[in-house]
């Protein structure tokens, strides 16, 4: 199989930096602390009152899950908003475009690079979140839904990061715009969930609807990034 050259190259580079070990330690470390602290308090109160609060276990799950989503939303722009602009800064974007590499390969290579990091975070944190299984309370379906939502969010946020980094020349501006776009998108999503009844969305449509919307937007964002980095004829502006 032919692996994307951009992806391979970026993997070599990132293996030489501290980013990945630091990220894994921070994300899994903070999730662990959250879960362990909760377990600790529950078992302490159990020792004192002799009552184990299963509701609290579920609460850990929700808190940890929310924390993980939040971490993905925060980390992804930092991972991706220099992806294309970095190539431009190093003057390598032009070089890549003169090779037989398709501009689409550049975009997907950058996406794969971001996902390799994000999915590593998602899957290595699963055992921590799975502590909630000790006492039951969530279904396989919910767990699957959650993982799929994390994967979807990783793809979506990476696509936003790649898109802004192909449009903006400075990484700072790109990062800022990426955060704003992510904030707006997820706010809209929550609004749709909360005001589902008022909006007249049937209950069984809301989850597939959200996933379809995120994936469609991801594809669209990647497509416009690809279009933007491909050298093209400037459209004539009409005079007057």
């Amino acid at each position: 199989m032919r692996l994307n050259p951009i992806f391979l190259k970026d993997e070599i580079s990132s293996a030489r930096s501290f980013t990945l070990p630091v990220l894994v330690t921070l994300v899994n470390g903070s999730l662990s602390i959250l879960v362990l602290m909760n377990l600790f308090f529950i078992s302490r109160s159990a020792r004192i009152t002799g009552e184990i609060s299963y509701v609290n276990f579920l609460r850990i799950y929700y808190i940890a899950a929310a924390a993980e989503v939040l971490l993905i939303l925060l980390i992804t722009p930092a991972l991706t908003s220099a992806s294309v602009s970095g190539e431009r800064d190093r003057k390598t974007l032009g070089l890549l475009l003169t090779t037989q590499l398709d501009p689409w390969d550049i975009v997907t290579g950058k996406l794969m690079g971001a996902l390799s990091t994000l999915l590593l975070l998602v899957f290595t944190s699963m055992p921590i979140l799975a502590t909630v299984y000790i006492y039951g309370g969530i279904t396989w379906y919910q767990l699957f839904l959650f993982i799929f939502f994390l994967v979807t969010s990783s793809v979506f946020c990476s696509s936003i990061g790649i898109m802004v980094s192909s449009f903006f020349t400075t990484t700072a501006a790109a990062t800022a715009v990426a955060y704003v776009m992510i904030f707006v998108s997820y706010t809209v999503m929550f609004m749709a969930v909360i005001f589902r009844d008022q909006l007249g969305i049937p209950e069984n449509r809301i989850i597939p609807g959200i996933f379809i919307a995120f994936w469609a937007m991801s594809l669209f964002l990647l497509y416009i990034s690809k279009r933007h980095i491909t050298p093209h004829r400037r459209r004539k502006l009409r005079e007057g």
Binding site: R2, P5, K9, S13, G94, L95, T98, T99, P231
Partner: protein, 323 residues
């Protein structure tokens, strides 16, 4: 064959190219010269398909530049003005990466990469990281990289700018060898003398326009025609001045190191007639020849910067009467 026809391109209010026309024959070693900001890089990027003209056409062989034809990309190797580098890749990884960008990953490619690194003198250093390379080594690597897919056309944008004289010489040598191997080469510079010995063809660009283009011999001939004739005389200059003043085609006379320098507007035949006249007038002529073409002064003339003349001009009537 690369041809640009009446190409215009503006960035905001700046006309980077203002009707540029340019032709590069197959197998030519084309020197593309112009002062800073003349539009060289813009034109080169168009040939490489990285920019598109607002008006006019850019063709490479039978294909429009920038059309996404794989055959076209395979044909062009590009050494940009700023070496694009990945500081934390090793030299050999950099080469492998670009080979993969051309879908080349077999054993033959590995050998080719070694040969190229050997050619530019970086084979021993291939496991070094790119951020340890100085500008000279980066440019050499950039050249090796541009040749990975064995392109028919090699385009170099001011490759020797910022290099020390030694590296500059080595680099020129490599390019000369590549030209001998039959590649079409386009090399830009803002110093004409630097590339004039290498080139078979020359194009001089100024403010987005081609001001002179052609085979180097033709350009040199034109340069020569605008240069003064130097007449060396044994003895006093008086009689010579008299004879020269009488000739209508002599535009001006000046003195340099006891030689007479005249600007002369006649043909080669007229030149020989003038010499005959001088000899017949009894002037002891010791030497009579056109000053060798100085491309640099032509370049400076064409591109607007007047060269300071080292000769002092005299009005023939006033100062030489006592001679």
């Amino acid at each position: 064959m690369i041809s640009l026809e009446n190409v215009k391109k503006s960035y905001g209010h700046v006309n980077a190219l203002d009707g540029l026309t340019m032709h590069i024959e197959d197998g030519a070693m084309y020197g593309f010269v112009g002062p800073t900001g003349a539009g060289k890089t813009t034109a080169i990027q168009m040939v490489c398909g990285l920019e598109f003209p607002d008006e006019g056409s850019v063709m490479v062989d039978d294909m429009e530049a920038g059309s996404n034809v794989r055959r076209l990309k395979r044909r062009i190797g590009y050494v940009p003005d700023h070496t694009g580098s990945y500081p934390n890749l090793r030299i050999i990884e950099y080469m492998d990466f670009f080979a993969e960008c051309y879908d080349m990953r077999d054993q033959k490619t590995k050998r080719r990469i070694q040969n190229l690194l050997n050619m530019v003198g970086l084979q021993e250093r291939q496991t070094q990281f790119m951020d340890s390379l100085n500008r000279g080594a980066q440019q050499k690597l950039s050249l090796a990289r541009a040749l990975i897919h064995d392109p028919k056309i090699l385009i170099l944008d001011e490759p020797t700018a910022g290099l020390d004289p030694n590296t500059r010489f080595e680099f020129r040598q490599m390019i000369a060898n590549l030209a001998d191997s039959g590649k079409t080469i386009l090399i830009s510079s803002n110093v004409l003398n630097e590339i004039s010995e290498l080139c078979t063809d020359i194009g001089i660009i100024d403010q987005g326009n081609m001001v002179m283009e052609g085979k180097i011999e033709d350009v040199l001939d034109q340069v020569n025609a605008s240069n003064p004739i130097i007449i060396s005389i044994a003895g006093s200059l008086g009689p010579a001045l008299q004879a020269l003043r009488a000739d209508r085609m002599v535009r001006s006379v000046s003195i340099r190191n006891n030689d007479l320098l005249i600007t002369f507007s006649g043909s080669k035949k007229d030149e020989s007639n003038l010499l005959k006249k001088l000899v017949e007038a009894g002037v002891p002529v010791r030497g009579f020849h056109r000053e060798k073409g100085n491309l640099e002064s032509l370049f400076l003339q064409l591109t607007g910067t007047r060269e300071e003349r080292r000769v002092t001009y005299y009005e023939a009537e006033s100062d030489f009467s006592e001679g």
